[in-house]
C-alpha cells in the first residue's frame, strides 16, 4: 500500500468543478496536502515555493500557458525534481494535441473522464516505480553519470520490470559521458530485441551526429516504414538531408512531421528557416506565423520568428508592391515584437529596419528613408552588438535603404568583433570590397597568432604582451579579449598582482558584450568562474 498522507500534490486546472472533483478523489485516497492553481503562471509560482511529489496538470488552460509549456519551463528553470511525477490530463483527443502532449514526455497522460480507481491505480504504479528508481534519479540529479549506470544495473537485476525505464537512463548517461560506442552498442542490442521506436530514433540521431549520414538515413527510413506516424523520425530525416545539402528534400520531410504534429514550436521554426532558404516564401510565412502563435506563452518564443515572418511576407510580394493585407500583418507582427521585447535596442533596430522596408515596398519611400536615417543614427549608439549573421543582414538592409555609411560602419564593427573567424571575414567580403574594413584587423590577427604560439609554448608573459597589442588594436574583438584574460589568469596564478586582476576583469567585461547566443559564452563563463575563485 502506498502512503498518500505524506505526499504533496498540485492540481492545475481552469475549471473549478474539475478541481474540486479531483480534490475529492485525492482526499478519498488519503492525500492531505493539496494545492491548486488555475493557470500556468500560478502553477510556476507555486513550484518556485514548494517541492511537489505529484503534479496533475490539465493540458489546455484556455488563454495562458498550456501543460506542455509549463512542463518545459519547469524543466528549464530546474524547478522539477526527477522524483516528481508530472501527469498531463486532457479532455480533448485530437491527434495534434495528443501528439504535442506526448512529445513533451510527461511521466503519464490521463484522458478525462477517469474514475477514482483508475487514478489511484496509475498513481500507485508511478510512485512504486519512482521509489525503486530513486537511486537512479538521485544520481541523475547530481549529474553523476557513472552512478546512474551503476544504479541502473542494480535496479535491472533486482526489479526486471523496470528494465525498460533503466535502459533509457543508461543511454542518456552514456551520452553524457561521451561513451558513444557503448551507447551505440546498447541501442543496437535494444533494437535487435524489438523495434523500440525511441531507440530507433536515438540510434539514427547518434549516427547522423557522427557523420554516418547514409546509415542514419536507412535507419530513419526503416523506422518510418514500421511507424509512419512518429514525428521525430521525419525530423531526423530532414536533418540528415540538410546535412547532405538536399534542402528541398529536407523541407518535404519536415512537412510530413508537421502534418502529424503541428503544435511544435521548434519544428515550425525549423520549417520556416528551411523554406526561407529554399525561397518558398509562402510556406516560410505559414511556418513562421505558426511559430509566432505557438511561442506566445512559451519559454522558447523567439523574436527572430516575428522578423522572419515579416521578411517572408515581404519576399512573397517579390518585386511588386506589398498588398494591404501583408502590410497589416507585418505591422501587427512587428508591433507585438516591440511590445514583447521592449528593452532590447538591438532588436528595436532590426524591427524598425523591417518597418522601413515595408514602408518602402508599399509606396512610402520618403517615410522609409526618414525612418532608416533614425535607425542609422541609433545603430552607432548601440552598446551591445548583433551576432555576425544578423550584423550582415542589418548592413544589407541599411544599404538597401540608402544608408551606405552606416552599413559600412556595421560591417567594420562586425569585422572588429568577429574578424578572427575566417568564415565571418569571407561573408563580410561578400558585402564589401572596402580594404579599410577587410584589412583593418590583419596586423592584430598576426599578433594574435604569434601570441597563441607563445602561449602553447607556455611563455605566458610574452604571449600576454602580444594579446594585449592585438586587443589594443581591435578593442571590440571578443576572442582577443578572452585570450588576454586567459593569459592574465595564468600569470595571476603565480603572482596575484591587483593591477593584473583589474585588467582581467576589464577584459572579461569587454568580452561580455558578445551576443547571448555566441559560441564563446561557455568559455567566457569558465574564465569568469576562475577569476572569481581567486
Amino acid at each position: 500500500m502506498i502512503e498518500y498522507n505524506n505526499k504533496r500534490f498540485l492540481i492545475v486546472d481552469d475549471f473549478t468543478d474539475f478541481r474540486s472533483a479531483l480534490t475529492g478523489m485525492l482526499r478519498q485516497m488519503g492525500v492531505a496536502h493539496i494545492d491548486a492553481a488555475v493557470n500556468g503562471e500560478e502553477a510556476l509560482a507555486l513550484c518556485r515555493k514548494h517541492t511537489y511529489d505529484v503534479i496533475l496538470h490539465d493540458y489546455n488552460l484556455g488563454k495562458g500557458k498550456n501543460g506542455q509549456q509549463v512542463l518545459e519551463e519547469l524543466h528549464h528553470d530546474k524547478l522539477l525534481s526527477p522524483h516528481c511525477i508530472f501527469i498531463i490530463i486532457s479532455a480533448e483527443s485530437s491527434q495534434a494535441m495528443v501528439m504535442a502532449a506526448l512529445e513533451c514526455e510527461p511521466d503519464s497522460y490521463l484522458t478525462k473522464p477517469f474514475n477514482l480507481a483508475s487514478l489511484q491505480q496509475r498513481l500507485d504504479k508511478l510512485i512504486a516505480m519512482k521509489t525503486v528508481l530513486h537511486p537512479v534519479l538521485d544520481a541523475q540529479m547530481r549529474a553523476d553519470h557513472m552512478a546512474v549506470l551503476e544504479a541502473c544495473a542494480a535496479v535491472i537485476a533486482a526489479h526486471p520490470r523496470y528494465a525498460p525505464q533503466c535502459r533509457r537512463h543508461q543511454v542518456t548517461a552514456l551520452a553524457a559521458l561521451g561513451r558513444r560506442q557503448d551507447q551505440e552498442r546498447l541501442l543496437r542490442s535494444l533494437i535487435s530485441e524489438r523495434p523500440l521506436p525511441w531507440a530507433l530514433v536515438a540510434l539514427a540521431d547518434l549516427l547522423r551526429e557522427s557523420g554516418q549520414l547514409d546509415h542514419a538515413l536507412t535507419l530513419y527510413q526503416d523506422g518510418i516504414r514500421q511507424f509512419p506516424l512518429i514525428p521525430a523520425l521525419y525530423d531526423g530525416l530532414a536533418a540528415t538531408e540538410l546535412a547532405r545539402g538536399n534542402h528541398e528534400e529536407a523541407q518535404q520531410h519536415l512537412q510530413q512531421g508537421l502534418r502529424i504534429s503541428p503544435n511544435s514550436l521548434q519544428r515550425q521554426e525549423r520549417m520556416g528557416q528551411i523554406a526561407q532558404r529554399n525561397n518558398d516564401h509562402e510556406q516560410a510565412a505559414r511556418a513562421f506565423r505558426q511559430a509566432v502563435d505557438l511561442g506566445r506563452n512559451s519559454l522558447f518564443r523567439n523574436p527572430d520568428n516575428h522578423l522572419n515572418l515579416a521578411s517572408s511576407l515581404t519576399a512573397q510580394a517579390g518585386d511588386g508592391a506589398l498588398g494591404q493585407r501583408a502590410v497589416a500583418e507585418i505591422r501587427q507582427t512587428l508591433g507585438e515584437l516591440d511590445k514583447t521585447w521592449r528593452d532590447d535596442p538591438a532588436l528595436s533596430v532590426r524591427s524598425r529596419l523591417m518597418q522601413a522596408r515595408t514602408l518602402d515596398k508599399s509606396g512610402h519611400a520618403t517615410e522609409a528613408r526618414r525612418l532608416a536615417e533614425q535607425v542609422a543614427a541609433d545603430v552607432a549608439q548601440l552598446e551591445s552588438f548583433f551576432d555576425a549573421e544578423v550584423a550582415l543582414q542589418v548592413a544589407g538592409q541599411l544599404r538597401d535603404l540608402d544608408q551606405a555609411g552606416s552599413a559600412d560602419a556595421v560591417l567594420a564593427t562586425c569585422a572588429e568583433m568577429y574578424g578572427d573567424d575566417p568564415e565571418v571575414l569571407a561573408d563580410i567580403a561578400r558585402h564589401t570590397d572596402n580594404p579599410d574594413i577587410l584589412a583593418a584587423g590583419s596586423q592584430a590577427l598576426e599578433w594574435n597568432r604569434q601570441a597563441i604560439r607563445l602561449y602553447q609554448q607556455k611563455n605566458y608573459a610574452e604571449a600576454l604582451q602580444r594579446f594585449r597589442q592585438a586587443l589594443a588594436s581591435q578593442p571590440r574583438n571578443i576572442s582577443f579579449a578572452l585570450n588576454t584574460a586567459q593569459s592574465l589568469l595564468r600569470l595571476i596564478a603565480a603572482d596575484p598582482k591587483p593591477e593584473l586582476l583589474a585588467e582581467c576583469e576589464r577584459c572579461l567585461q569587454q568580452a561580455d558584450g558578445m551576443p547571448s547566443n555566441d559560441h564563446r559564452r561557455e568559455r567566457y563563463r569558465k574564465l569568469r568562474e576562475r577569476l572569481e575563485q581567486l
Binding site: A21, A91, S94, Q95, N115
Partner: protein, 231 residues
C-alpha cells in the same frame, strides 16, 4: 466513393469529424454528470439509473473510439507507438476503469498472471482499448464474474477475458477470420468490437507472425472466453 457527388463530400471524413465532436460532447456530459452526482443526496445518487447512465456512456465512448480507430486504420493513420508494457499493470488498469459498473452490477472481478514481472512489447493504448471493449461487452452477458488472465504461450503473449455467462454463439467460436462465420460487423456492437480487436491485434507483428483473436466457451469461469494473442 461516389463519383457523382458534386460537392466532393467524403462521407467517411464527415462521419469521422462528427464522431470526434460527439466524443468530446460525451466527455463533457460525463464530467458534468460526475460533478452533479457529487452534489446529490446519497439516496438519489445511488439510484439504479445511475448505473445505466454510466455504463451506457462508457459503452458509447468505447464505440465512438472504435469508429475513430477504424477510420484511422482505413487511412493507415492509426499511430502505433509500441513500448515494453508491464502486463499486470495493463490488466489492473482495465479493471479499475470499470470498477464502478462492476460494483453496481455486483459482478466480481479478478485477474491472474503467469508471473508478476511479465513484460510485453505492444501499443499499450490500443491494446487497452480492445480489452476495455471486451470487458464492457462481458459486463452485459456475464452473470456474476469476470476474470482476466495473462500468460506467455509459445513466445506469444495471451490475454484472456472470461466470464460466467452463456458464452458466445457456436458459429462465432474459434480463431477470428477462420471460423464458419465471424461476428457480423453490421449486426451488433459486439461484432464491431471484435473486428476492431482483430485489426489491432494484426497490427502487432514480429518476424512475419501477426497477432490475432480467438473466441471459445467453457473457459476458466464456464462462460465465454475471449483470447488475444500478441507475437
Amino acid at each position: 466513393m461516389n463519383d457523382n457527388d458534386q460537392e466532393g463530400l467524403d462521407f467517411s471524413t464527415v462521419l469521422a469529424s462528427t464522431v470526434h465532436d460527439m466524443k468530446n460532447s460525451l466527455t463533457l456530459m460525463m464530467q458534468s454528470w460526475a460533478q452533479w452526482i457529487e452534489r446529490l443526496p446519497p439516496e438519489l445518487a445511488q439510484s439504479g439509473e445511475r448505473g445505466v447512465i454510466e455504463y451506457e456512456s462508457l459503452r458509447l465512448n468505447g464505440m465512438l473510439m472504435q469508429m475513430l480507430g477504424l477510420y484511422k486504420l482505413q487511412l493507415n493513420a492509426l499511430p502505433l507507438r509500441p513500448d515494453w508494457v508491464e502486463v499486470d499493470d495493463l490488466l489492473q488498469a482495465q479493471l479499475a476503469r470499470h470498477s464502478e459498473i462492476l460494483q453496481a452490477r455486483q459482478i466480481s472481478s479478478s485477474y491472474s498472471i503467469e508471473h508478476d514481472e511479465l513484460l510485453h512489447f505492444m501499443d499499450e493504448e490500443l491494446i487497452s482499448s480492445v480489452i476495455a471493449n471486451v470487458i464492457n461487452n462481458s459486463i452485459r452477458y456475464t452473470r456474476t464474474a469476470i476474470h482476466l488472465h495473462a500468460a506467455q504461450e509459445d513466445g506469444q503473449l495471451m490475454i484472456l477475458v472470461s466470464d460466467d455467462g452463456q458464452g458466445y454463439p457456436a458459429d462465432m467460436l474459434g480463431r477470428y477470420n477462420t471460423g464458419a462465420r465471424d461476428a457480423d460487423v453490421t449486426q451488433s456492437s459486439t461484432g464491431l468490437g471484435l473486428y476492431f480487436g482483430q485489426c489491432i491485434a494484426r497490427l502487432h507483428q514480429r518476424n512475419g507472425r501477426h497477432g490475432y483473436i480467438e473466441l471459445s466457451n467453457g473457459g476458466q469461469l464456464g462462460g465465454g472466453e475471449f483470447r488475444l494473442y500478441l507475437p
